[in-house]
């Protein structure tokens, strides 16, 4: 029987995942078959992709990549690994979006923020007390490298303006707008759409407070613009930014990034 085992094509007489593990990776105690983590062993079938791994063991970079690929659909994983995604602003949306995109397998991120972490950020932003005072770019980079040491990061500690936005985000497939102020959001969207013709933008509008989370939606108002949010819940006195709705919006934005990247992939395949 032909089985792909930890990235290598193998021919085996084993009939079950338990027998295969005993012969090929007796030190391992975890088994992923075609993207699914097994609870108990199953019979092998021709052409299966099997990854064995060790629970209390730090994998090599190659083994980690194999595990990551095995947990996603390989077609999605290979596209996301080649993607370059920008994030403008590393506050509540941006810091959590960066972590989510790295977990999803994005290969390269361009992160831009001028600010440093302060204690008022901790109600919703992906930082800890140990980060207070650090530039948000540096603090975010440290957290991301703890999640995936192989992720490529480009850091820009600066204020984004119409003049530097096309330079900072050059070569990005998608830029995520994660600013706080509405005029900054509008400026980033306008600048990327006008000055970066190959780049899409995923933006946000309306996520403050604690009203119904189901009001937060994903919309596609322009061909290269996606907007996530409820469109009305502005941050203001009496309606502050809180982690749950910020995270709902982050989930929408990260999923939109994956959907747009996969749509770009199928467009490229149609053209070639």
């Amino acid at each position: 029987m032909h089985i792909m085992v930890n990235g290598i094509q193998a021919v085996t007489m084993a009939r079950t995942t338990a027998e295969l593990r005993q012969t090929m990776a007796p030190e391992c105690d975890g088994t992923i078959v075609d993207g699914y983590q097994l609870i108990s062993d199953i019979p092998l079938q021709e052409g299966m992709t099997v990854v064995f791994w060790q629970r209390n063991h730090m994998p090599s970079a190659e083994a980690f990549e194999t595990i990551r690929s095995a947990r996603d659909s390989p077609a999605v994983h290979s596209r996301l690994r080649k993607a370059r995604v920008g994030i403008a602003g590393l506050g509540g949306l941006g810091s959590n979006l960066a972590a989510t995109l790295v977990r999803a397998g994005i290969g390269a991120l361009v992160l831009a923020d001028f600010d440093a972490v302060d204690p008022t950020n901790l109600n919703r932003q992906n930082y800890t007390m140990n980060d207070v005072g650090r530039p948000k770019t540096d603090a975010t980079a440290a957290h991301l490298q703890d999640i995936d040491p192989t992720v490529q990061l480009e850091l820009h500690q600066l204020r984004l303006e119409a003049s530097n936005i096309p330079i900072v985000f050059a070569g990005c497939d998608i830029v995520c707008e994660a600013f706080d102020r509405e005029d900054q959001k509008a400026l980033l969207v306008e600048t990327v759409l006008a000055a970066c013709p190959q780049t899409e933008i995923v933006a946000s509008s309306g996520l403050a407070g604690w009203s119904d989370a189901n009001l937060i939606q994903t919309a596609h108002p322009f061909s290269r613009l996606t907007v996530c949010g409820d469109g009305i819940s502005a941050a203001r006195p009496g309606c502050g930014l809180m982690a749950p709705r910020v995270m709902v919006c982050v989930g929408h934005m990260a999923n939109a990034v994956i959907q747009r990247l996969m749509a770009q992939k199928s467009n490229m395949e149609e053209q070639s």
Partner: protein
């Protein structure tokens, strides 16, 4: 003129920035696409509207 799917008969003779302010839009908080192309805010005043224009306007509220 069609704006976000709704017909408006009051566009002729106005520039885009005039029409936007007459309809309560704050040019600093929106992104505007005219006939499929983004209009940068410095060009709003120089953009003369035509009766067959199609506008898409996205408004942003703060928080992130």
């Amino acid at each position: 003129m069609r704006v976000n799917g709704t017909e408006y008969g009051d566009a002729a003779g106005f520039t885009l920035d005039q029409w936007l302010s007459q309809h309560g839009y704050d040019a600093e908080r929106i992104a505007v696409e005219r006939n499929g192309h983004i209009v940068r805010r410095q060009n709003l005043a120089a953009t003369k509207l035509q009766s067959d224009d199609v506008l898409e306007i996205v408004s942003f509220v703060g928080g992130g």
